[in-house]
Each structure stands twice: as C-alpha cells, then as structure tokens.
Subunit: 136 residues, 2 copies
DNA sequence: ATCTATTTAAGAATGATTACGATTTACATT
DNA sequence: AATGTAAATCGTAATCATTCTTAAATAGAT
C-alpha cells in the first residue's frame, strides 16, 4: 500500500480526493507504524491549524473500511497503520511505545483444528507486544 | 477460580472482604463469560441500587491485578471474565455478542521462531472471534 | 467498644470518539 | 467556465468509557 494506490482506491469507490486526505495517507506512508488518532491530529494541525477532530476520525475509519489502513487497539485507544505492502495475510510484533511493527508470516489459524462447529468464526487477532530496539 | 479461592486471595493480599465483592465474584462465577463494566454495574445495582460506577471499575481492575479476573478489550470496551480453572496458559474463542468463550489449549508462541532479538517481548494476544451457537 | 486504614457514594473530571447543523468543496455535467 | 449536487469539512456539542475527588461509612485489628 502506498499513497497513489490509496488515492486510486478512494477514486474507484466514489470518494473524493482532497489535499488533506493525501497528506494524511502520506503521513502514514512515512511513519509505517501504528498511530493513535491524537498523534495524527497533532501532525495534521501543523499544516491545517483548524482541522477538526471529526475529519480525522471519519477519514481513519473510512480508510480502514477501504483497506488502506489497519486498525488495532490497546490501552483503550484505537491505532492505525498503513496496510502492509504484502498482500498475504500476516500478523505483527508491535512496540507498545512507538507503534513500530515487525511482520510475522505465520498465522496460528493454519495450525489449530476447528474447535467448535457450533461457533461461527468471523475473525481473529494475533499480536505480540513489546519494546523495539529504539525504545528500550 | 471460584468464589472461595477469590476471597482467599483477597484476604491473603490484605484486602478486605465485603459483601459486594463476594456478590461481584459470584456473578462472574455464574456467568463464566466476558462482561463489560456496564453490564456488571447493571447487575450489581439490582441488589445495591446506589452502587457507584467507581466501585465497579476499582474492583474490576483490582481483581484483574490479583489474577481473579482476565481482561480483554474490543469495540473500545474492556471486558472481564473469571479466570479459567485451568492453570495452564491458554487462549479463547470469544462470542462477540454475549462474551461466552471456549478454550484453546494451543499457544502460537510455542510454534513461532524468535523474530527479532532486538525486540523485547512483554506479552501477546491470540483470540478468535465469532458467534456462539446461542447467538446465531 | 474504639481506632484506623480501607472502602464506598456521589458526582465531577477526563479522554477518546461520535454526532450535528452549517458551510465549503470536488467534480461531473451543462 | 458556470452550475448543481453530493460529499467533505468545520466548529462545537454530545456521548461513552473510565478515572479522580472528597467526605462519609465500615471491616477488621487492638
């Protein structure tokens, strides 16, 4: 995922291009890590002083729904990062301090048997948490 | 985990036994599923009409710290369930509607190599989400 | 029975997120 | 290029989960 693909998706799905949206995606493309809404807001308001929180949150959830961003949450905060380039399903090691990630190719779902036929599985989450080298 | 063990832990750790605490643990022991604070509050206020949200939250986090309750969060809400009887480390299938769980004995951490020596691992999360038979 | 630290009540404060009406903007069509 | 329209944004207020505060009540020890 990168800025031009993201803008392509927006266009194809009938959403409008705005400079703010481009800057927002570009920010995620530079950072390549999980960011809370507040940090995104702070960054965006440097370029657009009056930018509303509503716009941030609306775009974050829109981009998540379009597959441009991935979402996770910890400590009662949702966080987003640009969807990884790899199309293949994968998981992450996540630094709880800065949100930086490392990919994990293996998926536990491949190795566990079906536990209950009476349970309709809709999703799963596997994340390893810690501190990256820079944050230690 | 059950009510008497929970009360034992409270006593051993120097915390006080109260009727409300016993009722709270007893509620979790009956339900055996993940419950959000609000649901716990609603239940407790049937018996104790004026019971404050603060008391609920303080006890939930205390019990989590004491290992009496397990915590997870989804949809921006923390949820708690009575710690499972099995001492062994395990994971859960979780019904997103009612919070009921099934245990998963396997842990993905047993099967993946160390991905990055420069990354200090402090924890991990593996959960499978879906709908249980009763909620379908 | 009294003392003291802990717990509780009640409400206010905080922090994240969502909702809303008014205004502005992107962009397809004239 | 001007226009119409749906979408995007703004500014603010509302909502929801959670934490804090202060004074009163209470469990358990002495």
């Amino acid at each position: 995922m990168n800025v031009s693909i993201a803008l392509e998706i927006l266009k194809n799905e009938g959403f409008k291009y705005t400079e703010k949206r481009e800057n927002l995606v570009a920010f995620f493309a530079e950072e390549k890590r999980y960011l809370p809404a507040k940090e995104v807001l702070t960054y965006m308001q440097k370029s657009y002083p009056g930018m509303s929180v509503d716009t941030i949150y609306r775009n974050l959830t829109l981009f998540r729904d379009l597959g441009i961003l991935e979402e996770t949450e910890w400590n009662g905060e949702k966080r987003y990062r640009l969807s990884c380039a790899t199309d293949a399903h994968h998981h992450h090691l996540i630094c709880l301090d800065c949100g930086r990630t490392r990919q994990i190719e293996a998926c536990p779902m491949d190795n566990i048997p079906v536990y209950d036929a009476d349970f309709e599985v809709v999703g799963h989450k596997f994340e390893i948490y810690g501190k990256c080298g820079a944050c230690q």
